[in-house]
């Protein structure tokens, strides 16, 4: 869901450029509480994994595809602030090296995928943590699925907001909003499945490394073993 340059006007790009810089600066400071020598390797690999997974467009409708955004995935595995930084690095690499996502659109793209996608995905994960994590390990999968799904739809709605503020073209805002919601509800199902599968795989192997499980029984057992 990378925007090209010119989809929104220059003032809107500038506003969200400032929003993105502010959010990334806060994340860089707050990530200190999430990162230590033990968790740096996972954080680096999660960023690379998201870069790779974003290359895989899966079909959702005839002629329409979607790909993982990875916000909820990163937040659950390495923490929300580190997650913002993971997604930001992926988006910068894509824009500057692979010409994927406009350069002046970096602010909007970071806002949508790295800030809104991560924040909403993490918010859902935290809200469901008490209900779902106390039960069987499957609870973590359901939590990850829903966090991925809702985070994706939220990122799509952030685009709609940007388009409402300064979008190009004469299309109706309602039509754009409805189409974005519908397609990203479908893409969100794929996002949820990939997020759940990845989080469960890491939690199975190394629960002690999963940010959302820090301090829980599941993680302690692993450390003791």
């Amino acid at each position: 869901m990378h925007m090209s340059d010119g989809i929104v006007n220059a003032p809107t790009s500038l506003i969200f450029g400032v929003v993105a810089i502010g959010a990334v600066a806060v994340a860089a400071v707050k990530a200190r509480s999430e990162l230590d020598e033990r968790t740096v390797p996972l954080a680096g690999l999660v960023a690379a994994f998201i870069f790779a997974a974003q290359m895989i467009n899966f079909p959702i409708l005839p002629g329409v595809s979607g790909h993982l955004l990875g916000g909820a995935l990163a937040a659950i595995l390495v923490g929300p602030y580190t997650g913002v930084l993971c997604l930001t690095i992926v988006l910068v690499v894509q824009a500057l090296l692979f010409a994927d996502g406009g350069v002046t659109a970096l602010g909007t793209n970071i806002t949508n995928m790295a800030v809104v996608g991560v924040a909403v995905g993490y918010g859902v994960a935290v809200a469901l943590r008490r209900v779902l994590l106390s039960r069987r390990p499957g609870g973590l999968g359901v939590l990850a699925f829903l966090a991925g799904l809702v985070g994706t739809v939220a990122a799509a709605m952030a685009f709609v907001l940007e388009y409402a503020i300064g979008g190009a073209g004469s299309g109706s805002l309602g039509a754009v909003a409805g189409y974005m919601f519908g397609t990203h509800a479908l893409i969100g199902i794929g996002e949820g499945v990939i997020t759940a599968a990845t989080v469960l795989a890491v939690a199975q192997a190394r629960p002690d490394l999963v940010y959302l499980l820090r301090g829980t029984e599941q993680a302690r057992k692993q450390v003791a073993a």
Binding site: M1, M3, S4, D5, G6, I7, A28, A31, R32, L35, D36, E37, V40, A43, G44, L45, A47, A48, F49, F51, A52, A53, M55, I56, N57, F58, P59, I60, G63, V64, S65, G66, H67, T82, L85, I89, V90, V93, Q94, A95, L96, L97, F98, A99, G102, V103, A156, F159, A168, G169, S170, G171, V176, Y179, M180, T183, H184, I187, A205, R206
Partner: protein
């Protein structure tokens, strides 16, 4: 799982996705791109693809770095090089992220844990 097995498996899966699975990705526009293409038809002309009709995508500017050597996940636009471009992207991403995260983790360690004053 042994520590090393976990890291090797995670890295291998990541490289496999970028280097191999990427060839099987759908080439259809994604949700946002197809939202911007609504109202237009993509027509193949000698000069490349052209958008006929009225849609948001007509306002999209060409990428500033469209001529970069890795543009569109290829090596210099050569067909069949997507997997290699993906692997390069994975290496660059893990390098950039690792360097940033290591610096952040270190900046914490440099601070005295508690200053007895």
């Amino acid at each position: 799982m042994k520590q090393r097995t976990f890291w090797v498996a995670f890295a291998a899966v990541t490289l496999l996705i970028a280097g191999v699975f990427s060839y099987f990705a759908s080439s259809s526009p994604d949700g946002l791109d197809s939202a911007t293409l609504r109202g237009c038809e993509v027509v193949e002309t000698d000069a490349g693809e052209e958008l006929v009709g009225e849609c948001i995508a007509q306002h999209a500017a060409e990428h500033h770095l469209a001529d970069s050597p890795l543009a569109d996940y290829t090596l210099g636009g050569r067909e069949g090089t997507g997997g290699l471009a993906g692997v390069i992207g994975v290496v660059v991403t893990v390098g950039a992220a690792g360097a940033l995260f290591w610096a952040i983790a270190r900046s914490r360690r440099d601070k005295p844990a508690s200053s007895p004053r």
